[in-house]
Symmetry: C2
């Protein structure tokens, strides 16, 4: 087992690879293929290290995946938290969430789609931990979206009788659907137009929920 040192000169032979760069490659592989479809030999090859180095540095395949998910959410997936926190109104926050998701999910510089949505859909029972972990991340997002819309309603931005849960559900469902469409190769322009369409759901302030024609 390879131990970690906090700082200064570490006792033994130093790592012959950059931990961050190797983790980045693992993230990309897990992102594009998913947890179980990415084999340890796929990983070692992409990371440029041997199996004992992988296990010594990252524990095992499962912990490497979890760390890759953390890296995803702190890196390419950072847009979600930013959008919900940095925008002054609920509408701008949700619009930016969906628009930035569209940009990220269709960025040609990395795999298409959302790692949190797509990386652990098809798993055997042995990988239940991983499935539950990503399910938890999705649940966290849904709660954050709901909270942001509640805040907007409390601020009087939308009618008091707005069904916040349903609106948040529609927003996150759209996000998941956009992730799948991006994975399928949908153009960025088409995804943007979908976002514009979804944003028409945002309630008007007049206090009356729009009814059907």
């Amino acid at each position: 087992m390879i131990k970690k040192a906090k700082s200064g000169a570490r006792r033994g032979r130093p790592l012959a690879f950059q931990r961050d760069a190797a983790l980045e490659q693992a993230m990309r592989l897990f992102w594009s293929r998913g947890y179980e479809a990415t084999s340890v030999s796929d990983l070692t090859e992409a990371m440029g290290i041997s199996p004992p180095s992988l296990y010594g540095t990252f524990g095992d395949k499962k912990r490497l995946f979890m760390e890759a998910v953390d890296r995803y959410q702190a890196g390419p997936g950072e847009f979600a938290r930013n959008a919900l926190v940095e925008e002054p109104t609920g509408e701008r926050a949700i619009r930016r969430l969906l628009m930035d998701a569209t940009e990220c999910f269709s960025d040609s510089r990395h795999p298409w789609g959302c790692m949190v949505v797509l990386a652990a859909i098809n798993c055997t029972i042995e990988s239940r931990d991983v499935v539950n972990a990503l399910e938890g991340r999705r649940s966290d997002l849904e709660h954050a979206v709901r909270d942001r819309i509640y805040t907007a309603r409390a601020a009087g931005e939308i009618p008091a009788n707005t069904d916040v849960d349903a609106l948040a559900g529609a927003v996150t469902a759209s996000l998941y659907g956009i992730a799948i469409k991006a994975r399928d190769g949908a153009s960025r322009a088409s995804l943007r137009r979908i976002v514009e369409q979804v944003m028409l759901l945002w309630p008007i302030r007049s206090g009356k929920v729009r009814s059907r024609a």
Copy 2:
């Protein structure tokens, strides 16, 4: 190799199992776990047959999966085509599509979510055929939804300047998102409310696209 006979008395030893019932079990397994995460031994156990019987009757794992997808679309997934064909107006067709999808995807009598959306997300490169096949099915659905909305627009049900592609994209993205939420265990009631929310996107007839508040 086991050959097929069209009718009448077949020459050799008869099948010791019901082909349809075995295929049904295979469909359920592929539906709940996905293509690669379902092993041939999982399949033979659930189908109650031995590997040579599976290979003799269905070809190989890939062809069995394809046939299971056909069975899914002709059975539990039949709602999609029905909704688009049987309803008199575009709005009722889309509403029924999403509502029936919600019922199907959260039906406790079979696996949650949509097989076409979820059964081949995480695959290795060797299963590219399977991935492309499901991608094609999704593309077919999107075209059908688009066509149905075009028809509605041509019939004057919605404004002539409606962005049909974007609307169809939003509908199918919602459908995919609902599939993922159902897989995650979302309640049927919450999904229904999401559908109601999404249906607020349906354009009004007055000829003026709704603007934001």
